[in-house]
């Protein structure tokens, strides 16, 4: 009995810890700027003020569009490449695959600072400096390890007999992929797309280093700049934070099961 009380007590405390920031964001975003004071931080707004969202929306719309283009293109390309790589590594094991795969995987753990200086120069030299396309290229390449890993582990579950049967029927490398592997890939794609979507949408280091022109900035950079300015009233950064969080939050709420699967796959064996 005491144990039960303690148990629900801890759950209630933890829920408070996780939800208080959410309450504060929503309440602050809905207050008029003049009503935001430090002493009244936790009080409900006396007057529901929706203007902040309109302002944040207007200021952030181009950045949200940038983020969407960046995220969608980057996610799709890295997912497709990861699927094909995973197919090769799980069903067409070649000598040396055991060496190449870990070397590929290492790329997802490195601190990106260790490649940032040459990367910056490289992107500038190939004429993509400051543009969204340079950033997309970077996200596709550094996304390859995780997408390849998830698909490789996923395809390992598909029985080799299916592949063998298709091969006896005369299918080649691409025929097997088209007829056997790809039709079974939907759950794998869902996991990978959700994972990459969240990662690329939330990414900051590459975005802030490689995209110099404000017109091409993704939302994370714009939000960091807005909140970093000292003079800004807090209603705007809070409304902006909500807008920036919404896409990944919706994905999490509606497809949480697949999100968690991607999360666990990130610890290599899954």
């Amino acid at each position: 009995m005491i144990w039960r009380v303690v148990q629900y007590g801890i759950l209630a405390l933890a829920t408070l810890f996780f939800l208080l920031p959410v309450y504060l964001v929503v309440v602050t975003a809905l207050k008029e700027p003049a009503a935001i004071t430090l002493e009244s931080t936790w009080q409900l707004p006396r007057l529901w003020y929706w203007e902040s969202f309109a302002q944040a929306w207007n200021a952030f719309l181009p950045k949200l569009q940038n983020s969407f283009v960046l995220t969608l293109v980057g996610t799709l390309l890295s997912a497709i490449l990861g699927s094909i790589n995973g197919y090769v590594l799980s069903k067409w094991r070649f000598p040396g695959a055991n060496v190449i795969f870990p070397l590929m995987l290492f790329g997802m753990f490195i601190p990106y600072q260790a490649v940032l200086i040459p990367l910056f120069q490289f992107i500038r030299e190939i004429g993509l400096g400051g543009s969204l396309w340079g950033l997309i290229l970077v996200h596709v390449v550094y996304g390859l390890p995780i997408t390849t890993l998830i698909f490789r582990n996923y395809y390992a579950e598909i029985p080799d007999e299916l592949v063998e049967a298709s091969r006896i029927d005369g299918a080649g490398f691409w025929g097997i992929y088209r007829n056997v592997i790809f039709p079974l890939s939907v759950p794998g794609f869902v996991v990978v797309i959700i994972w990459q979507f969240t990662q690329i949408w939330n990414e900051f280091l590459f975005a802030v280093t490689l995209v110099s022109s404000p017109a091409n900035q993704p939302i994370t950079v714009a939000l960091a700049q807005l909140a970093g300015g000292e003079a800004v009233k807090w209603n705007l950064p809070m409304a902006g934070a909500l807008l920036a969080a919404l896409p990944t939050l919706l994905v999490y709420i509606f497809l949480g099961r697949y999100f968690i699967r991607g999360l666990l796959a990130g610890s290599v064996k899954g």
Partner: protein, 374 residues
Amino acid sequence: MKWLRNLDSLVAVLTLLPSVILLAIFVYGFIGQTIQTSLTNWGKDPAQALAINPVLQFVGFENYKELFSGFIHGRFRQDLVNNIFFTVFFVGGCLLVGLSLAIILDRSPKGEGFFRTIFLFPMSLSFVVTGTIWRWMLQPAGGVNQLPSTVGLPEGQFAWLTSRQQVLQFDWNHLPLFTAWLIGLILLWIGVAALRGGEARRGWIALGSAALLIGWAVFIGPRVQLLPFPEIHGFNLAFIGIIVAAVWQMSGYTMALYLAGLRGVPEELREAARVDGASEVQLYRRIIFPMLAPITLSAMIILGHISLKIFDLIWAMTGVDNAPTEVPALLMYVTTFRSNKIADGAAIATILLLLVALVIVPYLYSQLRGEVRR
């Protein structure tokens, strides 16, 4: 038909090739270039720093030597200390919160799915969003400090992110000494455990290494001077707020890992232990926790490498150029892209890479080794 199969194998390898080449360039080629840059004087002469084709001189390990012992690079050393303290408290916090929540949720309380969703949702947010929110939560005269006053208690006084206090201070010159003691004692413990377990060779090797290290620490260590001057570093209390925010974001992940592990403990095993008269506490201590040890290790490594790379959260909470809450990942950015001291930045990046590799390479090796054997 054999040649056809070989042809397909060739196609398979050729299909993988573009990705392999891209990663070879973007990961290993660029790392090589960074290391190369760190051995030059790029940025020492401001006129050369931003030149299209800078004239660079090879200076060997000079930049590294400067970072660890040069007078003006005390900031780097404090950043390193910051990051180590941050890692210890962040990983510890996540493990503690994650394990507690997982144990409770594993006992299927009412509304389990609801709680799980709540505890995990911060994982889907950007560190920038989390940082922005918690920066507002931790305003010294508002936010969390105002919480007690909503129920009539006196408000909190801690300055959070603007605190300038430092605790657990030590002299940088004693770092080799502490390290030798720490690793020596760990090896001693490993050695004793191995001998007790009957692994004589392993035990004696560990004990021998431990004796060497402790001997060094007793007889030579106290006289080692890294710097010609004492230099005090410690744990900046301004980091507490950042640790809280980071735990808020990542403890759900730890919970998910542990929950997956707990669900893997067969019900028959628990039943058997209960039948044998084990209390609930004994059940967890003797049976379930040992089974969770590999998960704890994985979680420590994944969280540890995240905390060594922590960058966006601190940027969003205290800005990019705030010395008390700085870590090497941020200092690298400031040094390279704001001060144009590119070689110094490359050296910091290389040190960071080495730290992460120290954690990740053995992990990848052990994770994939079992597979290859199979």
